[in-house]
């Protein structure tokens, strides 16, 4: 698979695993309650019942949120002894973050170059910070 960041330059990296369904990941993270669940589940200490206690909504509603997160690959349910705890899948989160970071870096570099162009094309009366 190839990464297309700078226009159409392929900055290729081969992938050993199937990437997560990105639309689902971002859609799942678009909700405040779900982001909070993901944050709490990093420590992987609570089950669905305990998590549900944090929110002013029905147990069924929290279960639905958890199902959305699970389908997106953001959390998994894990057996610890006799209990089942909800654990955040950090890899999925990191992948999402990285994509955003790469686009940000790309545009920061472009804006730096824009500044250079502006500095070099400065006309009379213009001052340009570099």
């Amino acid at each position: 698979m190839l990464i297309q960041l700078y226009g159409c330059i392929s900055m290729g990296v081969s992938v050993p695993i199937a990437p997560p369904d990105v639309d689902r990941v971002f859609a799942a993270l678009a909700d405040h309650t779900r982001r909070d669940i993901v944050r709490r589940a990093i420590s992987a200490e609570e089950g669905v019942l305990e998590l549900a206690g944090h929110y002013p909504m029905s147990f069924a509603a929290v279960q639905k949120h958890i199902a959305v997160l699970e389908r997106a690959g953001l959390i998994t349910k894990q057996r610890v002894g006799r209990r089942k705890v909800v654990r955040t899948n950090l890899e999925t989160l990191i992948l999402a973050r990285r994509l955003l970071d790469q686009y940000e870096e790309l545009w920061r570099a472009r804006i730096d170059r824009m500044n250079q162009v502006l500095a070099e094309t400065a006309g009379a009366g213009d001052t340009v910070e570099t």
């Binding site: 369904d21 990105v22 639309d23 859609a27 999402a96 994509l99 940000e104 730096d112 502006l118």
Partner: protein
Amino acid sequence: MTVTAVRTDPQRLTLTIEAEFAASVERVWQLWADPRQLERWWGPPTYPATVTKHDLWPGSRIEYHMTGPTGDQPHGYWDVLAVEPPHRLLLRGGCASDDGTPDTDMPISTLRVGIAEVAPGRTRMTIETLFPNTAALEHALAMGTDQGQSQAVSQIDAILAEETIQR
């Protein structure tokens, strides 16, 4: 730093960057409207861009290629969807074959550019990148996770927050 804000919107799959320049609106507009200026900032230093076709009219197409260190020349294009000089520009484009024909297998992305005066001689440019379709995102995300878990945890608040980073 001229970058004044960075916002991500996971729901709309957009990244918005705001920058301020000590230059007039017209001169900032020329960064996009003058192909000779555009090709000086578009590509990284290792892949300078050459713009071969450039008309800023709705319905027209910008064509360019980049030249890499080994002589490789990836081609790309932008379709001009909307243009309101010197304030607004809406482009949608992707990659093309060597003769400039859009490559329909490659991702398509959308750029929305806004340019506005914040004070005399001081101009804010807002660039909203609408991430390409899912396939493209999957390509972009297809990187290994070679970072340690501790570093991972420190990054998590950033993605969980609907952030506006002021720098």
